[in-house]
Symmetry: C2
Subunit: 661 residues, 2 copies
């Protein structure tokens, strides 16, 4: 970095080796090398600059995204398997995300070998551009309720794709609005009058010659979304079919088929494969949560060290905001969460590999648990990250409200993660159902596995009591795990008992759903805590690195213990005195992390380009840059604003006498 | 409303008289009449339409705001004292907010009679337009740390206003960037080398003839802020002074003066007047919180009744989302909060009147309590409202992310309320200091007054235990009040005791600030609960109205009791069993409010124009209107997007062979 480093003193305070922590964060020396190189490549390329994004009107913004995507394509060809890192550092939602992330995987996962051979080469070369058209105007989470129909016509050997109602209009798919030439469309398969439920079909939308929509197809953008820049770089689209015909072989037929005669068949490929895909997608969302939260935390931490407020004495400068305990008690748990989510995301990668290998060996035994676990962690981490980004924005005071702080866009572009790929509340209820089922199977000889294996010790967990007598006792991993296990187990058991009191389980589930969701949260927090603790049992090299992670782990679980004190107290595992000791320890850990705070966010190795925030600048040179950025606003193009002569001058010059208002 | 009413069935379910509730919400029949009339007047005037606001680029957006402000001015002259309602329903931040809301009140409050006579007529007629230039690039909450200087020059009888550093640049004042001709500027008063602290000065910024900045003045807009539309209609500005001279009589001299000779004097006008102004401003913020939250709740409630998801059986339509307990447990506490904040805001109006009358009689005894109370309620209600708006957005599923839902803009325009006029965390700490002081004074013969009067019963509150034995026991107002009083009192006492264990109170306050903030929240929640209960003791007419409000009051306090269970359990007033009974009662109250939900949000009497949300439409005709709105996006102006020929077509036509990615 050129110029003065205003955070140099902060960096000197660090009690650990930052380079080693960077490798821990990246996952491996190799992963660090790739990230570091590609991050620089993107930051140094003027096409990828993003500081004007929040000022551009929609059309220009979108055009600029197309430009970046075309430019990235050249790089992607060179980079090969590192291409996904490039898209990551370009940091701008684009139609290519859906093409690579949804369209191609859908064909790979659900297409036959023949279909893959036909379509994938075209897609890999981007001779066609595809999107994923599932949700409809009236149908989101409930995929089985989709209304679009695909009716087989045996006379012509075709499917007729049709939008029978307004609410059946496809709505939201990214890349659909203006760009995609093709889509994987989900529709109700109908053969000979019979409805076989929702299946996927490859449908061409636009002519390859001139990009105009094919006959029978109405397609467009659904309009502005939350935030400046943000997801408005994406052409989320609306799509209607008026009896559009496609050849029979464009139904994705790996799992089920329609024959030339119109007979519906299911192959012996297990349907559970779908869950494997879900585990994959949600695992990537958890990993992304740690990146998004860490960006916000990096910005807020650096600016909290730059910013001074109150407390000046004898003409000395005011106190750095990061030295206030209120600031620490809001910021440091988020810093700890960023690390916690990073490690649980890493573990989920392993889980996905494990599930995939088992599926290939026809072992479905761990799938329900893996599915519940990823669903729950997706919900937990995205909710915490969305809230955490907004908290970081508030922690930056008024300046966090400026687009140049980067935080408004980070929030606006992140929040859809709470809704897509499974609404977070719906997911928690799925986890809760799994937990109640697990409780009901205890003692049936089917021991709970994986992240619910603690339920196997239910008798102990129902009656044990916390042994903590001093604040330091809360540092023992076994003590913490027991506390989180006891809380989760007791809440699950209590829910299961209460559900069984209703006339039917369904009525019980419906009536108690808010409590069930809380039990699911308790279980998911236990997973994150236990994976953080497991990580610390591994060998971690570098001076002071493990010690820092231990402090962060402590902050993570103790801040949860404090925030969810009600759970721990009401389930009777912890006494108020013990909870109070945990809070004392938490406070002392804040002091331990304080001198390392800047180094801990430096360890993310984010470039100023990637952060996209003046407040989060590496060199801490915030105020001159904020001042300079202001003048770039279009309103400052001229001294007199447009409209002055029409709407302001007449006011100032008018002579009407008015009463006191 | 013309056309079909898709929510008609919901409206038929209501068990109370909506018109009577509208009057309760408005405050009086007269207030209802004015609001109703002016709301219609604004909604029917095409100049005030706002549906395109989120699509306009900054310059056009700002020009359109100037147009609205000029148009509103004509109406304001006709409407006289109803003008503030007009600005409320126009619902768009504009420079006029600062002119009427800050510049004029500052002159009224801090100017001498002579100064008022000189400046106010010009301001009332808008022959000059003013703003309020307090915060600086490096200085927000800590007003005493401002750096701008106003140095008296006795040779010319002038003040020299100067920005000595970059961080002293005025930053944020609304209306400053492009429009204001004048400002009340806060600067350190320096006479004969002595610094007398921060004082206010009237400074002309721009020439009245051609609107260009006066010599020595650098002024501009600070750039884009969070959200589409939102506060980008406002020209928040940056301002620097290079030795700008103003006549001595432009210092606001009501409280302190500088004589011709340069002598600094203080008049006998009490400085506490400043606190009176703060009480006023914060009271209006609490009232606004109830309006903002009620808008979001209205949108989310109506759309939750329109939207269906899952649960379809035998071909019947899916379940209305509002029937899910998870939806109810998130939505109905916010509905209850909107009413709770409305009533506490009403009470604060009374408090302000009371304080004003006492100040006029030189009675300052209630001022500290009133100041702490309004500071705390400002913090509590704005935090809850900002979070609540975002929660309402999530409760609308994916469509809440569209600007046409109105919720993104409502959030983005609202969140600064958590920071301006006192950062919410800083305010909580002020309340906590007041509480600790109150605790320390118990038994000194100075009985606590107003909202802390419960501290007078501290002995009882420290030892009493909850008597609840059945869920219904939690309906007793006296039981609820004791629970909230005991919790708040015990947390305050515990903080006071812990603070006293440190070497100095200052160290204790610093170290325990996170706990202190929690005690302050407990106290403020008690105020809101007790004012809701007091409201219910008043005569409330109209069939079923009082019953509905009782249900909402119950939901308000029981949802707090559940969310803050940890406080109630750790302070030992409530047992886990009693907390669980409260939760059972809460669930049953959700069922009671369910059939009345639509009518309860209709009672806000918000026009579709004011709501600005397709999801929140009165007639529930959501999907056709969402569909129609999509096509208005600029991206849909043409079939091929700008950039297609340059950046997409070359991709689709390229022939480069690439490896599998």
């Amino acid at each position: 970095m050129a110029g003065m480093d205003y955070l140099a003193d902060e960096r000197k305070k660090a009690e650990f080796d930052v380079q080693s922590m960077k490798i821990v964060w990246a996952g491996s020396p190799e992963a660090f090398e790739v990230s570091n190189r590609i991050s620089k490549l993107v930051a140094d390329d003027p096409v990828f600059r993003k500081d004007e994004r929040t000022m551009l009107p929609r059309k220009e913004l979108f055009k600029n995204t197309l430009r970046k995507a075309a430019h990235a394509w050249k790089r992607i060809i060179e980079l090969q398997e590192e291409a996904s890192r490039l898209r990551f550092y370009v940091d701008e939602p684009a139609y290519t995300d859906l093409h690579w992330g949804m369209f191609i995987p859908a064909i790979k996962g659900q297409g036959t070998d023949e279909q893959q051979k036909q379509w994938l080469p075209l897609a890999y070369k981007m001779k066609i551009i595809g999107c994923y058209a599932q949700t409809e105007l009236g149908h989101g989470s409930n995929v089985q309720g989709l209304e679009t129909t695909a009716t087989f016509d045996p006379r012509t050997d075709e499917f007729v794709i049709h939008s029978p109602t307004l609410t059946s209009s496809k709505w939201w798919p990214g890349g659909l609005g203006k760009i995609s030439t093709h889509a994987v469309v989900y529709a109700r398969l109908i053969t000979d009058g019979e409805d076989h439920g929702v299946h996927g079909f490859i449908v061409q939308l636009r002519k390859l010659e001139d990009h105009t929509p094919l006959p029978g197809i109405t397609v467009g953008d659904i309009g502005m979304k939350f935030g400046n820049g943000a997801y408005n770089t994406m052409d989320n689209g609306v799509l209607r079919f008026e009896h559009v015909r496609i050849p029979r072989n464009q139904m994705l037929m790996r799992v089920s088929q329609v024959t030339r005669e119109g007979k519906y068949k299911q192959s012996d490929v297990p349907r559970q494969l779908v869950y494997g895909t879900m585990v994959y997608v949600r695992q990537t969302i958890v990993v992304d949560a740690s990146y998004a939260l860490s960006k916000a935390v990096c910005i807020a931490t650096r600016y909290s060290a730059v910013r001074r407020q109150f407390g000046s004495q004898n003409g000395k400068p005011e106190t750095q905001v990061i030295d206030y305990k209120t600031q620490q008690s809001r910021l440091f748990p988020l810093l700890a969460s960023a690390y916690a989510f990073r490690f649980v995301g890493e573990w989920l990668k392993w889980l996905y590999t494990d599930v995939t290998q088992r599926l290939q060996a026809n072992d479905f035994s761990t799938l329900p648990e893996a599915h519940a676990c990823t669903a729950g962690l997706k919900s937990l981490t995205t909710t915490a990250t969305a809230d955490g980004i907004e908290e970081c924005r508030k922690l930056c005071g008024g300046h966090g409200y400026l687009c140049s702080s980067g935080l408004p866009e980070l929030f606006a572009v992140y929040v859809p993660a709470c809704t897509y790929e499974g609404d977070n509340t719906v997911l928690l209820l799925q986890v809760a159902r799994f937990l109640v089922k697990t409780v009901s199977q205890i003692g049936t000889g089917k021991p709970p596995v994986g992240t619910v294996s603690y339920m196997g010790r239910i008798e102990h967990l129902m009656k044990c009591r916390c042994n903590v007598q001093t604040a330091e006792d809360w540092l023992k991993p076994s003590q913490i795990l027991e506390a989180f296990e006891a809380r989760a187990a007791r809440m699950s058991v209590s829910c299961a008992q209460n559900v069984s009191k209703f006339a039917s389980p369904e009525e019980g589930f419906a009536e108690l759903s808010a409590d069930l969701a809380e039990a699911a949260v308790a279980h998911c927090q236990l997973i994150v805590v236990s994976k953080f603790i497991e990580k610390l049992k591994q060998e971690i090299s570098g001076k002071g690195v493990k010690q820092q992670l231990e402090v962060l782990c402590g902050i993570y679980y103790l801040s949860l213990l404090h925030k969810y004190q009600g759970d721990f107290l009401s389930t009777g595992y912890v006494t108020p005195k013990q909870a109070s000791l945990a809070n004392d320890l938490l406070r002392s850990l804040y002091s331990k992390v304080r001198p390392n705070a800047i180094a801990l966010v430096d360890s993310f190795n984010y470039s100023d380009h990637f952060l996209g925030s003046i407040l989060g600048r590496y060199d801490g040179n915030v105020y001159p840059k904020l001042y300079a950025a202001a003048w770039k606003d279009p309103l400052n193009d001229s001294v007199l604003p447009d409209g002055y002569h029409e709407y302001v001058r007449p006011l100032l010059k008018q002579q009407v006498l008015t009463a006191k208002l």
